[in-house]
Symmetry: C2
Subunit: 112 residues, 2 copies
DNA sequence: CGGTATCAGTTCCTTATTGGAACCTTTACC
DNA sequence: GGTAAAGGTTCCAATAAGGAACTGATACCG
């Protein structure tokens, strides 16, 4: 199965992954849940390249997950729609799993 | 931020994505939850290339998410560990979202 | 015993996706 | 008019994924 074929897959999980299953999309959406809404904010937070960010944002807008509005000439806000907000539980469960099963062992400084 | 740097990211969501955030891993794990456990079963179900499947399974074993056991000479079972089972809520929430927000409009046959 | 088939990979080559830097256009500020 | 920032786009190099062929090891067939 090719990635693009997932969209019409029988399995709802596969269909969800066809939308948010790439390397960056869920991190962008996490930023949205944290209140970030601008191209430059995502850039600063994620270190994603402009090209890929531009592409992902356009995809999310096309999917109806983000809403793009011009808050000043040539400046845009990307905000979660209801469909986007509904992804919250996915991020929530990822948060819980990461916290429980991949704890940060923070770097010990000097003699620790 | 490069993908590999996510492992030690401050955010638990980022750390989770460093493990399951690529194109295929969550689909493989979905198959595990559905009871599939062998290389050939994953292949048949997903149409993933041998090379990538081999790589992903090895990664999941290294992460302690799957357990690999030889059930016959040269034949292996991959089964979810507790850490792997704990990913259930992520798949569950993806299932719910996909069902609600990306319903299958199944192809209408003949006159519907 | 030779021939064929399956499982679980590995290797090699091609295609697709990402990373990185430079460039572009509009607006704001001095 | 010069500089800077936002939000892109374009181009090229590096990385990842797709696809087919090839490798053992084991099993079954006659």
């Amino acid at each position: 199965m090719k990635w693009s074929e997932l969209e019409e897959n029988e399995c709802p999980i596969a269909r969800t992954l066809s939308v948010v299953g790439d390397r960056w999309t869920l991190l962008i959406l996490r930023d949205c849940f944290l209140g970030r809404s601008r191209f430059s904010e995502f850039r600063a937070s994620l270190g994603i390249t402009r090209h890929v960010l531009s592409d992902r944002l356009a995809g999310l807008v096309a999917e109806g997950i983000l809403d793009k509005t011009e808050y000043a000439r040539g400046r845009f806000d990307y905000r979660l729609t209801d469909k986007g907000e509904a992804l919250g539980p996915i991020l929530r469960s990822m948060f819980d799993w990461g916290k429980a099963y991949r704890p940060l062992r923070r770097p010990v400084r000097s003699k620790g």
